[in-house]
């Protein structure tokens, strides 16, 4: 059971998408796991052959539990199951002896994966409804909040009779744990800079006039690209702090904080943002938002982020100083674009201005370097056409 974020303690296996004997390629989706963040598609990290499935659908197990054994494709099939734990088994799988069986392991519908929006999951937890017993009426049979409420009406009475305690708000608890850990362990420093967005806005407007609806951009796309490009100059802000040392990110994978309606948030990553153009970044971010809402993110999206961005400008916030998502070492916050008096070449003009903030881990970087990072974002946004 992979850890899909610092805030995850356990997950429920929903469905296997591969069978023993199937060849696996890095990036293949092997299983679906149900977490507080929705149904997550679990990807394979290396090539091989699925040797044996250890955990069955419906079982809830702690992070670190072996779900399946993957054999290196170079090595011949193990003659007996007893050998399956020998060196032929991928070392990426860390065995954890304790396996907690799911409560009465309710069989999932034969239809396969459980689709439910995070809001529906939250509602289900709040109401103590077992999603596996709910019929979805949303897109592709997804379970909606309304479905959960309908189901709750019949369940509530039974629960009351049984004296069951109200289910805890799982996602809230998970966020509380991650954020408490961040504030306990990470010595944050905070910087802010105001950026003249005139050039970026003008460029965006001109681009959108030329572009068909499907290719139109929002300001978040050039912002993402500017952050990704600036990180190349300041690699100490891009990566993880693990066991007392900084580990630079293998790529620039930018987690985008996405608020879920009704509370809670997820921060899935846009992979290799520094190597993608602005149009690609826009498409990927739109897709992430849509899938975060529908509850169908992938494991790599939840685990790979090397930095996070948060945009509270939509809500009219001037500037947001975020809490770093451990084990990352930095978080960039965007405020709203607001018209303000601004001095341009000695005269006061009305300009669209945005405050960009940086919360960074002082163990991994210093304020001086953080300042250079924010200046780089400013410099890049003055020439949006070059992004």
């Amino acid at each position: 059971m992979p850890s899909l974020g610092a805030d995850m303690e356990a997950g429920t296996l929903v469905q296997w998408l591969k069978r023993p004997g199937d060849a696996l390629k890095r990036g293949d989706i092997i299983a679906v796991v149900d977490t507080q963040k929705g149904a997550i598609e679990i990807e394979v990290f290396e090539d091989g052959v699925l040797e044996k499935v250890v955990i069955q659908p419906g079982e809830k197990v702690p992070v670190g539990t072996v779900l399946a054994l993957i054999r290196d494709s170079e090595i011949a099939a193990a003659p007996a199951p007893a050998v399956a734990r020998a060196p032929a088994v991928s070392p990426a799988v860390v065995p954890v002896p304790t396996v907690v069986p799911g409560p009465a392991a309710t069989p999932f519908p034969a239809a396969g994966r459980l689709r439910a929006s995070p809001a529906a999951r939250k509602r289900a937890e709040g109401l103590g409804v077992d999603l596996a017993r709910v019929t979805g009426t949303g897109p592709e049979g997804a379970i909606t909040s309304a479905d959960v409420e309908r189901a709750a009406k019949s369940v509530t009475a039974t629960l009351r009779e049984a004296g069951a305690p109200p289910a805890r708000a799982g996602m809230r608890t998970a966020i509380a744990a991650a954020m408490s850990r961040a504030k306990r362990e990470i010595p944050h420093y905070y910087l802010a800079t105001s950026i003249d967005m005139f050039a970026a806005q003008r460029w965006l407007r001109a681009e959108n006039e030329k572009r068909p609806v499907a290719d139109r951009l929002l300001m978040i796309a050039p912002l993402l690209k500017a952050v990704a490009t600036a990180l190349r100059e300041l690699p100490e802000l891009n990566g993880h702090w693990i066991d007392g040392a900084f580990h630079p990110g293998a790529g620039v994978h930018i987690g985008c904080a996405i608020a879920l309606r009704g509370g809670g948030l997820v921060a899935p990553a846009v992979h290799d943002a520094d190597r993608k153009d602005v149009s690609t970044l826009m498409r990927e971010v739109s897709d992430l938002v849509a899938r975060a809402r529908a509850g169908s993110l992938r494991s790599s999206e939840l685990t790979d982020a090397t930095i996070t961005i948060t945009n509270l400008g939509d809500q009219g916030v001037d500037a947001g100083f975020g809490i770093i998502y451990p084990p990352q070492v930095a978080l960039v916050g965007f405020g709203r674009v607001q018209e303000r008096p601004w001095v341009v070449a000695g005269t006061i003009e009305v300009r669209p201005v945005m405050t960009v903030t940086l919360s960074a881990d002082h163990r991994a970087s210093d304020g001086h370097r953080g300042g250079i990072f924010l200046s780089a974002i400013d410099r890049l946004l003055q020439k949006p056409e070059e992004l």
Binding site: A142, T144, S145
Partner: protein
């Protein structure tokens, strides 16, 4: 297309973007984005879905016509053949 048919398309698009909303609870005269807590990306996805479903070009300068369900219905009804 009739206003009712257009409304159905909009509701369907909104249900995909915000699966947790109850279509019956949408108040047609109140700001959609506030009412349904849609952010700018949700809103862009809505415009895109309507464009794809109805084949209507929607320039960025007309985005303000989509502030409420009522105004969106009249805009799209007028422009659909």
């Amino acid at each position: 297309m009739t206003a009712d048919a257009v409304k159905k398309v909009i509701i369907e698009a909104l249900s995909r973007i915000a699966p947790e909303i109850d279509p019956a609870s949408i108040r047609p005269e109140i700001e959609l984005r506030q009412q349904l807590d849609l952010d700018s990306i949700d809103f862009l996805n809505l415009i895109l879905a309507l464009h794809e479903r109805l084949g209507i070009e929607i320039p960025e300068s007309d985005y303000s016509k989509f502030s409420t369900l009522d105004s969106a219905i009249s805009y799209l009804t007028a422009r659909s053949s």
